[in-house]
């Protein structure tokens, strides 16, 4: 199954757009936003223990942070009345704290009203704007535009621009449990959790979902992407809701989580990037952001609580890995990662993927040169990380059918236990990371980068990571013969891992070792100005950028392959 690239047309599982959960949601957007705002308000009140002083403090902190954000880090996408709104909140708060004519209950009511306005504003801001006609148009543009570019590059001659010889699926291969996800999407609610390396992932995944014949998923996309007009259009069309990472205040975080949990309960398929942001180090995410993930657990429990026992109320977690030879943002990502781990605590949410020019330049390069992408769809799991059988039942480690509802039972009833759900979320996060490693596809480029970096590290045993990365590039040279023999040894290990089902490897990794190395060298970070790995005139391996080499090398961290270099 994992070996064959799947390239065929999938029929849409729900041909009528009115049946799409996301369309149903957008039709009742107004009420839905209200529900979310109301529920978020309740949960903020619960967290502050219904204590007026705590609530007041929370509101003041929120106000303070929002004012700071407006002043220090304004974005184009921010609404015009942002300053106005917060100024009003401020004057209301000031007035209220000075007002002696009100008694405690009246005062509290006023504070709750302010909170109400804030959560309402946030819910409105977060909510997605799915418009079906835009979705259709976008899908057509993406597919059409991409395949034109592709054919122009690959098929020679004048008519090439009209050729249909290559489709996007030649460029982006989809492997794994595609039938299962299609099947389960008809039965229950899917939460897809992909790895995240590049800003392009959002669009890519949107496209994959449509190729698989699935109705659109909603997903949280960084608000910074909405800064760019064209991106905003795409994002809205694909059902994205907005996540503003600058806002870390309690009402915002609660509203965001509530939005996600309510949407899952509504039956809308969702997509989270559980790593939170793009992986800066280039490693597969090890620690997941559990905030959004917890909403899947919460929604599952809420469905059980409502008495939905059948599969229609079940939430399925589907891990997905996206594998590239090349990550456009690699240089800035790894720089940020190093400065972060190098004890530089502060950095600003930056927005380097910012100009349409950069993006189009990348797209043209991407389609005109060869550099393939593969997307592996993992096995579906329930919210506790148990695998799912063909009928949507959860299976335990021994293959016995179990009921997910049992996990939420105490004394014979489904009950709410926040601490329990935190632990479950934690557990689910660990399971997702395990699955990521299993469905990760090793490419030649990751492979050569890993070998080269580890060899350089072995040569310089005494240096710590930062000194190693500061080595002058011109001093590093690995003889091709050494490199080849080390590669051969490691390849066997990787093949062992693959046959144990611990990782997957791309078909080009089955070629001869020379071919793999050539393929890897040609592809690793191929569009960077400074290449992480090249052959010099004497045929030896050299690097032009150690940090980038480290970034691509990191993709194979987590399999204990480093042990081979001791």
């Amino acid at each position: 199954m994992a070996e064959t690239y799947i390239k065929h047309k999938y029929e849409p599982i729900l041909p009528q757009k009115d049946e799409w959960p996301v369309v149903k949601l957008s039709k009742s957007r107004k009420e839905f936003v209200k529900t979310v705002a109301e529920a978020s308000k309740r949960s903020v009140l619960q967290i502050t223990n219904n204590n007026m002083d705590l609530l007041k403090e929370e509101l003041e902190t929120t106000l303070y942070r929002e004012k700071l954000r407006i002043k220090q880090n304004p974005w184009a996408v921010d609404p015009d009345d942002d300053e106005d709104f917060w100024r009003k909140v401020r004057s209301r708060l000031v007035q209220l704290s000075g007002d002696t004519s009100l008694n405690k209950t009246q005062k509290k009511k006023k504070y709750v009203e302010i909170l109400d306005d804030i959560t309402m504003r946030y819910a409105e801001e977060i909510a997605s704007n799915f418009i079906h006609s835009h979705y259709k148009l976008t899908r057509r543009i993406v597919t059409y535009g991409f395949s034109r570019l592709l054919n122009a590059a690959r098929v020679k001659g004048f008519k090439s621009i009209f050729s249909n010889q290559y489709t996007l699926q030649d460029k982006i291969q989809i492997v794994g449990e595609t039938d299962q996800i299609r099947d389960l999407a008809c039965k229950g609610t899917i939460v897809m959790v992909p790895t995240h390396f590049s800003n392009l992932d959002s669009i890519l995944i949107g496209w994959i979902i449509s190729v698989l014949g699935l109705p659109p998923f909603i997903y949280g996309a960084g608000l910074n992407l909405f800064n760019i007009g064209i991106f905003a259009y795409f994002m809205n069309a694909l059902g994205a809701y907005k996540v503003d990472r600058r806002k870390k205040n309690l009402p915002y975080l609660e509203t965001l989580k509530t939005y996600s949990a309510e949407a899952i309960q509504f039956g809308v398929h969702s997509l989270f990037f559980p790593g939170g942001t793009r992986s800066r180090s280039g490693m597969i995410e090890k620690k997941l952001k559990l905030g959004l993930l917890s909403t899947a657990v919460e929604a599952q429990r809420a469905n059980f609580q409502k008495g939905i026992k059948g599969i229609e109320g079940k939430v399925f977690i589907v891990p997905v890995t996206i594998n590239y030879h090349f990550v456009l943002e690699a240089p800035s990502l790894i720089k940020e990662h190093l400065s972060l781990t190098g004890q530089e605590r502060y950095y600003k949410e930056s927005d380097e993927f910012s100009t349409s020019y950069k993006i189009s330049k990348f797209l043209v390069k991407f389609f005109t040169k060869g550099s393939d992408i593969s997307v592996s769809i993992g096995k579906a799991m329930d919210v506790l990380g148990n695998y799912i059988d063909a009928d949507g039942n959860s299976l335990d480690k021994h293959g016995r059918v179990i009921n997910t509802r049992d996990y939420f039972m105490a004394n014979g009833k489904v009950n709410v236990d926040v601490q329990r759900e935190e632990e479950y979320t934690h557990h689910l996060g660990k399971r997702i990371v395990e699955e990521f490693h299993k469905i990760n596809r090793i490419f030649s480029s990751h492979f050569v980068a890993f070998v080269a970096f580890q060899m350089i590290k072995r040569e310089n045993k005494k240096l710590d990571l930062y000194s190693l990365l500061r080595l002058p590039e011109e001093d590093i040279e690995i003889s091709y013969e050494d490199f080849k023999s080390t590669c051969t040894g490691l390849l066997d290990k990787i093949k062992d891992l693959a046959s144990d089902g611990k990782v997957q490897i791309a078909p080009h990794m089955r070629e001869s070792i020379d071919q793999i190395i050539d393929h890897g060298l040609a592809n690793v970070g191929m569009y960077h100005a400074k290449r992480p790995l090249v052959k010099n005139e004497s045929g030896n391996i050299v690097t032009q950028d150690m940090s980038l080499l480290y970034f691509y090398h990191n993709r194979l961290v987590g399999y204990e392959l480093e042990k081979q270099f001791k």
């Binding site: 506790l384 148990n386 335990d396 480690k397 021994h398 016995r400 179990i402 009921n403 997910t404 049992d406 996990y407 039972m409 105490a410 004394n411 014979g412 236990d417 601490q419 329990r420 632990e423 479950y424 557990h427």
Partner: protein, 352 residues
């Protein structure tokens, strides 16, 4: 939550009716219906007909069974009180009947070796953390139960049976398991503390056995209280270091399950581990001692595992290493003691 039992309320399960299991079953039975599982048919019969376990009277309402399925169906909360040597086997026997709604609290102090099949400890020599499972990790690995807890502390079974005042720790990552443990066990004579660091609490109970053997050996040599004080405090340091390396937190080691249990065990001639050390110092051979004991002295196995772990990680643990030599390599206890007295411990406490 009422503590009165009524017909619709489920029973509490106790698996394993050794001395500790029996004592706990008795405490549980004062508030709830209890179903007790024993492997030996004659014990089951004795429970059901004479309301006693090997002659010791127990609460009349305790029902005996040797059917895992019946016990799992009748109980949502199950206390696993089996010796560590039989732990894996019993867990596997119960696994087919356990479901995610079950809560399992165990009271077993021991570690389980987790090696690739067809390898033994002697072949591997050195081991790392992933080769060692605590008992809660065994439950998580073998069953579908996730709400797991453990019971540890200075709980000498005979004293508990006699209803003398005592306290215990219920540790679990789940607050609801701790609350359930407290609700079921707490009474005027038995205080129950909670701790979220289950691995730390389990390790405290396991690692203190090493020190208990050493304490028995000192007593067997006829040494006095100064020596014992020295041993307990140095033993504590070693316990903290080993425990941290295995993933427990310092707080648990200096709590009831750590230092509390350590002091009790090192002073108690009732303790099996202490007895092993004592008889060794009197000149008996390990094999003879083990053959003549009814219940297992868990510390012996722990010393073996910890020695392999220490070698795998490159740490030093002088008490454990020397005890290993005494137990398995015929080093004289006096020589081991000499070595320890010369060992350059320079700082008193360096882990806080």
């Amino acid at each position: 939550m009422s503590s009165k039992s009524n017909l619709s309320e489920k029973s509490i399960g106790v698996v394993g009716m050794g001395s500790f299991g029996t004592a706990i079953a008795n405490i549980l039975a004062s508030k709830n219906k209890v179903i007790a599982y024993a492997r030996r048919m004659e014990i089951v019969d004795e429970i059901n007909t004479k309301h006693s376990v090997e002659g010791l009277k127990i609460h009349e309402s305790i029902e005996g069974t040797h059917d895992p399925e019946y016990l799992c169906k009748s109980c949502d909360t199950i206390f696993l009180m089996v010796p560590s040597a039989a732990f894996m086997e019993v867990v596997r026997a119960f696994s087919p009947f356990l479901y995610p709604y079950h809560m399992v609290i165990h009271g077993t102090k021991g570690l389980c070796l987790n090696l690739p099949s067809n390898k033994s400890l002697d072949e591997v020599g050195k081991i790392s953390r992933k080769n060692i499972l605590t008992m809660s990790e065994v439950i998580l690995q073998e069953t579908v139960v996730i709400r797991v807890g453990c019971l540890a502390g200075p709980n000498l079974a005979r004293e508990l049976y006699a209803s003398q005042p005592a306290a215990t720790v219920v540790a679990s990552r789940f607050n609801e398991v701790i609350m359930e443990g407290q609700r079921l066990l707490r009474n005027d004579k038995f205080q129950v503390y909670g701790n979220s660091d289950i691995v730390g609490v389990e390790l405290s109970g396991v690692l203190k056995n090493i020190i208990a053997i050493a304490a028995g050996a000192l007593a067997g040599l006829g040494l006095g209280e100064n020596a014992k004080g020295l041993l307990i405090s140095r033993g504590m340091v070693e316990l903290v270091y080993l425990g941290n390396a295995l993933g427990g937190s310092l707080k648990s080691f200096i709590g009831l399950a750590g230092i509390g249990d350590l002091v009790t065990t090192c002073n108690s001639t009732l303790s099996r581990n202490y007895t092993v050390g004592y008889r060794l110092a009197q000149g008996e051979k390990l094999t003879d001692i083990l053959n003549s004991m009814e219940e297992v002295a868990e510390g012996i196995n722990t010393v073996r595992l910890m020695k392999a772990f220490v070698e795998g990680t490159g740490m030093r643990a002088p008490i454990t290493e020397n005890l290993y030599k005494v137990l398995f390599e015929d080093l004289k206890i006096e020589e081991a003691l000499q070595y320890l007295m010369k060992y350059p411990f320079s700082v008193d406490v360096d882990f806080l």
